[in-house]
Amino acid sequence: MSERRIRVLVAKPGLDGHDRGAKTVASVLRDHGMEVIYTGLHKTPAMIAEIALQEDVDVVGLSILSGAHMELFPRVRQELVDRGLDNVLMVGGGIIPGDDMQVLEKDGFAKLFGPGTNTDSIAEYIQTEISKRWAAEEAQA
């Protein structure tokens, strides 16, 4: 019996060519024992949701530095919901003003991480949230 591992999709939506942050986070999550799928650059919200579906991920993490987060993040969320994936833990990060973070966190995003976040704290946050969800699933079954 193999043990279940957290599967994470790290995605870059829209026209934004900077993925050093996304790759850094992906590596850190890998080092915390997660299975990380990285999409590569320039993905549409529909592509990201389709990949999340095919890969059956527990977490979708969006990285954005272009300033279009208020446009793209809710659309990714909508595409996920349209595919019945409203249960996926959604997180994000990048250059996002504090006010926008608050709006997004009210709108389906569990947590957003700004510049200067300790990378280990992202992994710990995901681990805590997912183990809560899995415990709830098991209680239901």
């Binding site: 193999s2 299975e35 890969e55």
Partner: protein, 302 residues
Amino acid sequence: MISWAENGHARFPETLEAIWSQVGRACRMGITGPPGAGKSTLVNELARMIREEESTVGILAVDPSSPLSGGALLGDRIRMEDRTADSGVFIRSMASRGSHGGMARAAVDAMDVMDAFGMHDVLVETVGVGQAEYDVVAAADTVLVVLCPGAGDGVQAMKSGLLELADVIAINKCDLPGADRLTSDMQEAVHLRTAGRDKWASPVVQCSAGKREGVEDVLVAVKSHRDHLSDTLPDHRRQKRIQQVRQVVGERLDESLWMKGNFGDQVEAMLCSGITPYAAARRVTQNLLKSAQENQSSEFQA
């Protein structure tokens, strides 16, 4: 369902039973080769060509897990991105999760699931290192080995054991210097193994997946191998299923002996008495075989 297979979920076997009658229709291709040979790019191109023939494609991309953290960075999708928007293509990444058996089983299960859900072709791609990866590609009908110039000479390819597995050999990046030399080396290696024997002689095909050149030749070679197999395919597959059953039996035994039985304690006691590991193993095996004979259980004869 693929996640269930990967995690060894208790409901997977019964669910597989429900779809089992639909399994066995797809053509299964295993693609392997050293890192950077262009496997993902070639898979992407093959999928494109198969789609042009109005077939559906399932792709399983296996990447290694980190031996340190057990995590994995699954990046094959990046080179398959043109296929993401296509609803006739289903791509799934899988981490090897250590080479101890389980991965090969999950990969075969995943191929069965894709097959049952109506994919005409199922491609499984993995880095060609280690026993577990061999087991994965060996479960396919046709094994395609991808090599490229500049990654060691023909002798290295021979000793890596990849060639024994190959039904078709693709020399990718054939525009690079050394491609012709590698191609003739490979042809010679195949000839050495097959000359004068009634065996399939693996074709060696040049291509450049990144430039979309020669990929149709690879597909033609794969199809000719499939035609070659046609009569023996059911037998070919049955042999592989026997391997699968054997593996699952091994896993179940391992589980029930070590996790449920108190084998660990017994062995610890034996070792404390000063005997060697081999002597302990012999004693354990003898006890097992004896109790098996007493129970008239056939499982242990495998």
